[in-house]
């Protein structure tokens, strides 16, 4: 019982820690400067061929952006644009887009 309690506590702390570390405000600003030109600040243009990011799973977004940055996933344009992002940038951006209601 005690054990389970502390596991929950730990999980809670980790979750809190992760969401505290991510700043939606900074993520919004970073997304506006880096991503929104193609993906939109919420949704891409109805006429654009780019995939939507708004409302997507945060962990998925983080993994994908990191893969683009580290060139383990190949896209000439995304490898270039994600290349300059830090782990913190990616965390903020992913949390921002994850928070958008599509």
């Amino acid at each position: 019982m005690k054990m389970r309690h502390s596991v929950f506590m730990l999980a809670g702390l980790l979750a809190a820690g992760s969401s505290q570390a991510a700043s939606l405000y900074v993520g919004h600003a970073k997304a506006a400067a880096v991503c929104s030109q193609c993906h939109g600040i919420r949704m891409p243009s109805a006429d654009a061929p780019f995939p939507p990011l708004g409302g997507r799973d945060v962990e998925y977004l983080k993994t994908a952006i990191k893969q683009y940055r580290d060139k383990t996933r190949v896209s000439e344009i995304m490898n270039a644009i994600a290349g300059s992002l830090t782990d913190k940038d990616i965390n903020d951006i992913a949390h921002y887009y994850g928070s958008v209601k599509p």
Partner: protein
């Protein structure tokens, strides 16, 4: 407008960082195909004559010595902090390479003709029998004046996102969307019949819009580009003017049939005969006239639309590079901005002469202008692009025609909004950095900036609802929403999502003529 806006457009640095990565593809398509590709994707902003419009001129002269690789990067990734969208995935690599090669080999074209016959042929009818339309709004609205129209550009300046969007400004809900194909630029309302609005696009098409059923009933192409449009006080005529070609036209507001074109040319303030872009066009509530500014000729023409042959009175030497204007004193006086002389010229429309030239910052762009009555004085507010150290909003006493104050603001500005019932005059800061996200508020009484709103995106074109209770602001490109504030508390109350919103036009404008005046002012014109 061309020159100043072009100056403000920066090129993306980020885009340059990806240039080196891309090198492949060889096949070049034919020049004809590339011309069509330019027309279909680029010309609404860069000009069918390759001479520039909202965006820089693209021709063999302006692109001389530019690296094709760097240009290709801008086309692919777009240019941040401007309206230039990314064409990656929309155009193939071969097409992008081809169009750049084509542009670097194509000189600026001569001013193409667009005649009365061309206009007649372009007339489209979407609703044949307008008597079948509903006789009242098909949506809930207490007063049609509460409508606010937003010119949504769409990310690509055309396509799905390009539409005129109408909002009920008491509920902040969209009540209609009218697709315009190409970016909507100006929305005017018919002062005599509340059901009609007119939307002009970046490619100079004018749509007649039924506000009751929220659809276009007709359209006509009046030129290649240029924002000028005005509606007569009796609601029977529209006058529209173009940058390309250099002409203006009077249309029947009911059928949109063109009645007469005017070649815009004249002797400029330096004594040179010039062909001229059309600047603002305005119908005044005071008389059966249109006033039109000839940008390059520096003249204002007054056209009597009730007289045979639409005779013109020319007022010369108003200023160098005229652009926009607003009305005051029941519509008898017109305040016209002159970019290159850094003044606003006051014109008496009754006597058809210049009253005075007033200092107005460095590149005055008054937008729709604003005028408010404070302690018995009528004060006019003029924004200015401020490409100099004079980042000020000018305030003039419009009775005495003298400067009251030049209020320092945080950057260049492009459009002021005021309302008789709202305590603040809002101005949009357009300087190309974080300031572009903001709108500043000037207290009407103290004439000081008292608050800065962080709207986001590229915030511009503030507009009050007809009752003055709400302030609407476009968050522009990369903002993709219109943000609504309470006029008194300045708290954000709503967000209306749309693609790249620009100009905001309240139907209340027909009631108060110039934003900020009370409807009582209109009594002076009767």
């Amino acid at each position: 407008m061309k020159k100043t806006i072009t100056k403000r457009l920066n090129q993306s640095l980020l885009a340059v960082s990806i240039t080196t990565l891309l090198s492949s593809g060889v096949a070049m398509a034919k020049s004809d195909d590339m011309h069509q590709l330019y027309e279909d994707n680029c010309s609404s902003c860069h000009g069918s004559d390759h001479g520039g419009y909202l965006a820089p001129a693209l021709n063999s002269e302006t692109l001389k010595g530019r690296s094709p690789t760097a240009l290709r990067t801008i086309v692919m990734a777009g240019s941040f902090d401007t309206l230039m969208p990314p064409f990656y995935g929309k155009l193939s690599d071969d097409e992008i390479r081809g169009v750049i090669k084509h542009l670097q080999a194509t000189p600026k074209q001569p001013n193409p003709a667009w005649t009365l016959d061309d206009m007649k042929k372009s007339l489209k009818v979407y609703v044949k029998d307008e008597s079948t339309l509903p006789d009242k709004p098909t949506y809930k609205i207490d007063n049609i004046d509460n409508l606010i129209g937003v010119a949504a550009r769409g990310k690509y300046g055309r396509g799905e996102g390009a539409r005129a969007i109408f909002i009920n400004s008491t509920t902040h809900q969209k009540v209609g969307e009218v697709p315009t194909g190409v970016a909507a630029h100006i929305i005017d309302f018919n002062p005599a019949n509340p059901r009609w609005a007119y939307v002009k696009t970046d490619t100079a098409e004018i749509f007649k819009v039924d506000l009751y059923s929220m659809q276009a009933t007709r359209s006509i192409k009046t030129g290649y580009n240029g924002p000028g449009m005005g509606v007569s006080r009796d609601g029977k005529y529209i006058m529209a003017g173009s940058f390309v070609p250099h002409n203006a036209v009077i249309l029947d507001a009911d059928t949109l049939e063109p009645l007469k074109t005017f070649e815009l040319e004249g002797i400029d303030p330096d004594g040179k005969m010039v062909s001229s872009d059309s600047g603002m066009i305005i119908g005044t509530p005071y008389a059966d006239i249109f006033a039109i500014a000839l940008e390059n000729a520096g003249q204002v023409w007054v056209v009597d639309y009730k007289k045979d042959g639409f005779p013109v009175t020319k007022i010369e030497k108003v200023g160098r590079h005229l652009h926009d204007a607003f009305l005051t004193h029941g519509g008898k006086k017109l305040m016209v901005a002159s970019y290159d002389d850094s003044i606003v010229a006051a014109i008496d429309l009754e006597k058809r002469e210049i009253i005075k030239r007033l200092p107005a910052g460095c590149v005055p762009h008054v937008g729709g202008g604003s005028a408010v009555v404070v302690d018995g004085r009528t004060l006019g507010f003029g924004t200015n692009f401020g490409d100099c150290d004079k980042m000020v909003v000018s305030v003039w006493d419009l009775d005495k025609m003298e400067v009251v104050k030049q209020i320092p603001v945080s950057g260049g500005t492009e459009s002021p909004a005021a309302h008789a019932n709202a305590p603040y005059v809002a101005v949009d800061i357009i300087s190309k950095d974080r300031r572009a996200r903001t709108v500043q508020l000037i207290d009407k009484k103290t004439l000081e900036v008292v608050k800065t709103l962080d709207v986001g995106g590229h915030a511009y074109f503030p507009e009050y609802s007809a009752d003055g209770k709400f302030l609407y602001i476009s968050a522009g490109y990369n903002g993709d929403e219109v943000v609504v504030y309470d006029s008194n508390t300045l708290q954000k109350v709503a967000s209306v999502p749309m693609e790249s919103p620009a100009g905001i036009f309240s139907r209340g404008r027909v009631k108060y003529m110039t934003r900020g005046l009370s409807p009582d002012e209109m009594e002076q014109s009767k």
